[in-house]
Symmetry: C2
Subunit: 337 residues, 2 copies
């Protein structure tokens, strides 16, 4: 059986996550038993939620156990199968983790899904046509539920979720304003992703400054917000929300490393009769087929061309992941294996 290099969580971060939290080992893949499939991973997905799993505190998801392979979405190819529905050569998406191969009990619901790469590149199933895309779809369609002509804002706009959010919102006739870090990302959001405007948070170090920039970019106020970051970005957007605005809370990456980040003025939730709702897309599997159908069509037609940052080799995963947490990636962060 082939050798398999894996990245384990060795110890938990104290404050910021660092490379020494991870450990790299190589093991032989075990022989398959009935119902199992051996998958060789082509791409590993790196996502902000993984940082939350590294902590041991109460969270919405079980903590990543120490000494085990880091959790993560993967796309790849079946190389050996003892399950009747899978054959060598099948392209599949699953939760294979930070490793080169995985052994999957293919009969478990949701464990492994065959995908068609005729019109959609395999890696897109980890981004626009995968969990990040469905995340954007759920927050937009099920929580924000926009009307054409409304103004929507998304933070981390050029990431995998943000870029899908932009395409989905434009398709519904909304004005879409992004928030991203640096002039390159902001230009890309407008020129390539079709955002109406994009604000560089790096030139707005305070909530007040960012609030003024939002006022200029959103002359009719903000009706819907897709939250990925928290902190002063949240405070600034909250100050510009219109009455009856909706906020889909998907991530608060700004607070992952340490003390909780407060919300400066929660009374605005009352004053503007806002709805603020947190969600995790994996708890809403019933929407995935509908969402993936729309997302797949947008990608196949070229209306959603999401950028990817690709690191190479499983050993590069920790560094690429730490860069993602600091916004060094540009678009969906992948590791090619």
């Amino acid at each position: 059986m082939p050798f398999n290099t894996q990245i384990l969580l060795d110890n938990r971060p104290v404050g910021e996550a660092v490379a020494s939290n991870f450990k790299c080992i190589t093991v032989e893949t075990p022989a398959l038993t009935d119902g199992q499939v051996l998958v060789r991973h082509h791409y590993l997905s790196l996502d902000p939620y993984m940082r939350g799993r590294m902590n041991d505190n109460k969270s919405y998801a079980a903590a990543q156990p120490l000494g085990e392979v880091m959790i993560g979405g993967t796309v790849g190819e079946v190389v050996e199968s003892r399950h009747p529905k899978f054959a060598p050569g099948d392209k599949v998406v699953g939760m294979g983790g930070w490793q080169q191969y995985s052994v999957v009990n293919a009969g478990e619901p949701g464990a492994l899904r065959k995908v068609d790469t005729t019109h959609i590149p395999l890696s897109a199933y980890l981004g626009a046509v995968g969990m990040p895309g469905v995340t954007a779809w759920y927050g937009l369609v099920k929580i924000i539920a926009p009307q054409a002509g409304e103004t929507l804002v998304v933070s981390a706009a050029t990431g995998a979720v943000g870029s899908a959010f932009g395409a989905l919102a434009k398709a519904r006739g909304c004005r879409v304003v992004g928030i991203a870090g640096g002039p390159d990302k902001c230009a890309y959001a407008v020129d390539e992703l079709g955002f109406d405007a994009c604000i560089d948070y790096k030139v707005h170090p305070t909530a007040l400054s960012l609030s003024k920039a939002l006022k200029a970019a959103c002359p009719n106020g903000i009706d819907g917000y897709f939250e990925n970051v928290g902190g002063i970005v949240l405070d600034a957007v909250l100050s510009r929300m219109n009455a009856f605005g909706r906020m889909a809370v998907c991530g608060m990456i700004a607070g992952y490393n340490g003390e909780p980040l407060p919300m400066a003025n929660p009374a605005l939730i009352l004053i503007n009769r806002l709805k603020v709702e947190g969600f995790i897309v994996s708890e809403h599997m019933e929407v995935w087929p509908e969402a993936l159908k729309e997302l797949g069509a947008l990608v196949a037609s070229g209306q959603l061309r999401a950028r990817e940052s690709v690191a190479h080799g499983i050993e590069s995963a920790p560094e690429a992941f730490l860069g993602l947490l600091k916004g060094k990636n540009f678009g969906k962060q992948l590791v090619q294996l």
Copy 2:
């Protein structure tokens, strides 16, 4: 025409509201024109929302204009009518303001409503069977939407809204825990209003201390919260919310006097996939008939026996209102005229 003593807003509070913000004058009531009704007020309602109106900042409601009669709900009796649907002796509820009499254009939708005092005391139409009762109903039924057996918490539990919330929630088979100030109010909540427990926030000066008390009173966590106060009470409740909990945000009285009060850890909205929704009951007039019907039945049957604090004479309104803001009232605060 009779003389009418009125309380005007003379100047806006700087920080805490004080008696000198108000001014008392006496004028003669004007002669009626066609379609008008003269109402003699029996009771004036004092409510926390009035404090927000005294400020000039952007809020959900127009600021109370300076030099005009303070806004307020009233119940009373028609003493003269030039409208065909109202006759002297009719008992009516309206927004007559802080004064002894009001002249009402009775044909305007919602301006004046006749009420039946056979089984329901007139003053209850300002409390349990009025705006505060419908406020509790909307937050409970339309936002929290509880299942029998869930645990619900309400702050300002012995006030007009809180006591109605308790009765409505018990009628739906929920465990209901109040938060109130002082041992008398807490005993009253449990012994008279039927709460399962009530926590005295005055013995819990920090969010952590209050959170521990909530853990003891809510062994299964908190599924729904009706927010009237904000500040550390909100932080403490947030720390005990269950996954998929709902928070109806009706008031944040703790922050009315000055700087916004932050929410310490908004990431909990995501971690526990909460829905947090602000509302103003006057924007949901479509639910009033259904809500008033249920509330009226609870009062008529004795299942909801809301306590009243009654001040006497229009001149006592400012002092009674300032006491309300400090929690000196016990139950619904009224002024008998």
